[in-house]
C-alpha cells in the first residue's frame, strides 16, 4: 500500500524530471499535466480530511499515485509525439533528409526506424501491463526519448531555414521554365496551324 511519503517521493523522483523534460522541449506548459495534478491534489486533500476513514485515506493515496504515474508516462509520450512530428517532417522530405541532417542519410534513416520501433515496443509494454505494473514501460519510453533527442540534435536548423529559400528559388525557376515552354509550345502550335492547315487550304 502506498504511503504519503511514497507519493511525494514519486513526485520528486519521476514526475518532476518527466515534467522538466517535456517543458524544456516544448517550452510551454502542457494542459494535460495540470489536469492530472489537479486530480491528484483532490485525493491528497482527502487524505488530510479528518472526516475521512483511515481505510479511505489509503485508497485516496493510491488514487493520487495513479494520477502521478499516468502523468509521468503521458509526459514522455507527449514528448515522444512532439519529437516524432519534427523527425517525420525531415524524414518524409527527400531534400531535408539529404541536405539538412548532419549525418549520413543511411544512418539517419536507420536510427529513425529504430526510434519508431522502440516507441512501438514501449507502447506494447505499456498496454500489456496497464493497471498491473504501469511503470514497466517508463524506462522504455525514456530510451525512446534519448534516441529521439540524438536524432533531433543531428538536424541542422540553419540548413532547414536555408532549404526554404532554396526551395522557393527552385519553385520560381520551375514556374519560369514552365511559362517559357508553354509560350514556345503555343507559338509552335500556331505556326503548325498556319503552315500546314492554312497552307493546305490555300493550295
Amino acid at each position: 500500500m502506498a504511503t504519503i511519503d511514497d507519493l511525494f517521493k514519486f513526485y520528486r523522483d519521476e514526475c518532476v524530471p518527466a515534467y522538466a523534460d517535456l517543458v524544456g522541449y516544448i517550452v510551454d506548459k502542457p494542459a494535460q499535466f495540470l489536469t492530472e495534478i489537479e486530480n491528484a491534489f483532490a485525493h491528497v486533500a482527502q487524505y488530510f480530511n479528518p472526516e475521512v476513514e483511515p481505510i479511505d485515506k489509503e485508497a485516496n493515496i493510491a488514487k493520487a499515485k495513479d494520477h502521478l504515474i499516468r502523468v509521468t508516462l503521458d509526459s514522455y509520450k507527449l514528448l515522444w509525439s512532439q519529437m516524432d512530428n519534427s523527425l517525420t517532417e525531415v524524414y518524409g522530405d527527400d531534400f531535408k533528409r539529404v541536405h539538412c541532417v548532419n549525418e549520413a542519410e543511411e544512418k539517419f534513416v536507420s536510427k529513425y526506424h529504430e526510434f519508431k520501433k522502440k516507441a512501438q515496443e514501449a507502447r506494447e509494454l505499456e498496454i500489456r501491463y496497464v493497471g498491473v505494473e504501469p511503470l514497466k514501460a517508463l524506462d522504455s519510453y525514456k530510451e525512446v526519448i534519448r534516441l529521439g533527442n540524438e536524432l533531433i540534435s543531428k538536424i541542422d536548423p540553419n540548413k532547414i531555414e536555408n532549404s526554404k529559400n532554396v526551395l522557393r528559388v527552385v519553385s520560381f525557376k520551375r514556374s519560369l521554365i514552365e511559362l517559357v515552354i508553354s509560350f514556345f509550345g503555343g507559338a509552335l502550335a500556331t505556326l503548325f496551324v498556319a503552315f500546314f492547315i492554312l497552307g493546305v487550304h490555300c493550295q
Binding site: 503521458d74 509520450k77 512532439q82 534519448r146
Partner: protein, 77 residues
C-alpha cells in the same frame, strides 16, 4: 539516488537536484525565455483526454476584476 532527466539537464546545463518542484522548473524556464509559459493542450494520439475535454480559455483575472469594478463605480457615479 537522485532523479535524472533524459534531456533537460544536458540541454540547459543544470542539475535537477537544484529543482524540487514543477513550479521551480516553470520559474527557471520563465527566466530563460523571458516570458511566462503558456498553457497548451498538446494534440497527440497516444495520450487520452482524461478529465478535461473542454477547450482552454485564458483569462486575465486582475484585468477582469478591475474592469468590472470600474464599470460598477461608473454606474454608481
Amino acid at each position: 539516488m537522485g532523479a535524472k532527466t533524459v534531456i533537460f539537464e544536458k540541454k540547459y546545463g543544470v542539475d535537477l537536484r537544484d529543482f524540487r518542484t514543477t513550479e521551480q522548473i516553470d520559474e527557471y524556464m520563465k527566466d530563460k525565455l523571458g516570458r511566462d509559459l503558456e498553457v497548451k493542450r498538446i494534440e497527440s494520439g497516444v495520450v487520452t483526454h482524461r478529465g478535461n475535454v473542454f477547450p482552454l480559455r485564458h483569462y486575465d483575472i486582475e484585468k477582469l476584476c478591475d474592469n468590472a469594478l470600474r464599470c460598477g463605480a461608473a454606474n454608481k457615479g
